[in-house]
């Protein structure tokens, strides 16, 4: 049985390799916001209030492109709707927490944190204070994201664009799913999702980001039926 502190630390350790992509991406996000002509306070406040990587950039790009705030808010809501799926998966492990703790821990749920904590949870179902792992991944992401976006806002794009560091984002997610490639059912679901995301890329409000997972989960449903 691991202590709360050990679980928290394990969460921090498990998520830290992803900072290779999160930190450059955060710097780019901060710098883009200021370049688009928004107040630095406003750009930073988003990291605190929304705390959702790509959706922050999209929000500012949509507004600076002349679209209404309604379009910007809707885009953020749709892009971040994937968290509903993360929550549905994680709820199994957070059931026993008090309502207040559930409300607090929810703020920390992000893509990489969900992915790494979910992997840990699946292997350690019997641990008592599992949620401390999620707090560890979430807090690490939160702190790095704040520092990174703030640095981008203050220092501007000091990371040269030619380096193409945005490419680390797909690489980070490849690292998350790559071990599941050997499972044929997962491979089918991944290819369905990937191709659907390209097919629906031009759908309004960046909704490909949730349309593709819904299609892929439908295929997953068919697979679970066939397995029986």
């Amino acid at each position: 049985m691991l202590s709360k502190k050990q679980l928290f630390t394990k969460g921090m350790v498990d998520i830290s390799p992803h900072m290779l992509s999160v930190i450059p991406f955060g710097i780019i996000c901060g710098a883009i916001g200021v370049e688009l002509g928004f107040s630095p306070y406003l750009v930073y406040a988003m990291s605190f209030i929304i705390f959702g990587g790509a959706s922050q950039i999209v929000f500012l790009q949509v507004l600076s492109g002349g679209a209404s705030s309604l379009v910007a808010v809707t885009s953020v809501g749709i892009i971040n709707s994937r968290h509903l799926l993360y929550g549905a998966v994680l709820s199994e492990y957070l059931e026993k927490l008090s309502f207040i703790k559930k409300l607090l821990i929810s703020y920390l749920i992000v893509d990489q944190g969900f992915a790494e904590s979910n992997k840990f949870f699946k292997k350690n179902k019997t641990e008592q204070h599992l949620h401390y792992h999620l707090i560890g991944t979430g807090c690490t992401m939160w702190i790095c994201w704040q520092i990174a976006t703030l640095s981008g806002i203050i220092l501007g794009s000091f990371v040269p664009e030619e380096l193409g560091l945005k490419f680390t984002i797909p690489l980070t997610f490849i690292a998350i799913v790559v071990q599941d490639l050997k499972k044929i059912d997962h491979l089918i679901v991944m290819i369905t999702c990937g191709l659907s995301s390209l097919l629906f890329f031009d759908a309004p409000f960046k909704s490909y980001i949730i349309i593709a997972p819904v299609i892929a989960l439908f295929v997953a449903l068919l697979i679970t039926r066939l397995k029986k």
Partner: protein, 105 residues
């Protein structure tokens, strides 16, 4: 106005995170749904990976000889065998850099 929209977007985002954890009782989800939820990572992350590789900043499909495709293939191979996140990211990035700065420059 922009401030207000950010706050609304923030509340909306928070609700996407909180709803399934705090408001929905897990027993409401049937066994079939629980079995499908096993596939969430595989069903969500490729929607981030594919467009980031195959679609450029201007929303157009890239050429099949784009360095990003090569970088991604290297990352998949290295990641698969090393099971190491840092090795996956660095191998992909370095092979991408090798193409854009050495081969195609």
């Amino acid at each position: 106005m922009t401030w207000l929209s950010i706050i609304i977007a923030g509340i909306l985002t928070y609700f996407t995170r909180m709803t399934m954890i705090a408001l929905i009782d897990r027993d409401m989800l049937g066994d079939k749904i629980k079995a499908v939820l096993e596939y969430v990572p595989s069903a969500v992350f490729p929607a981030i990976i594919f467009p980031a590789i195959f679609i450029n900043d201007y929303g157009a499909f890239i050429e099949m000889n784009d360095p990003k495709i090569f970088g991604a293939i290297v990352a998949i191979i290295v990641g698969y065998f090393s099971k190491n996140i840092i090795a996956t990211i660095l191998s992909g990035l370095i092979s991408y850099w090798f193409l854009i700065f050495v081969v195609f420059s």
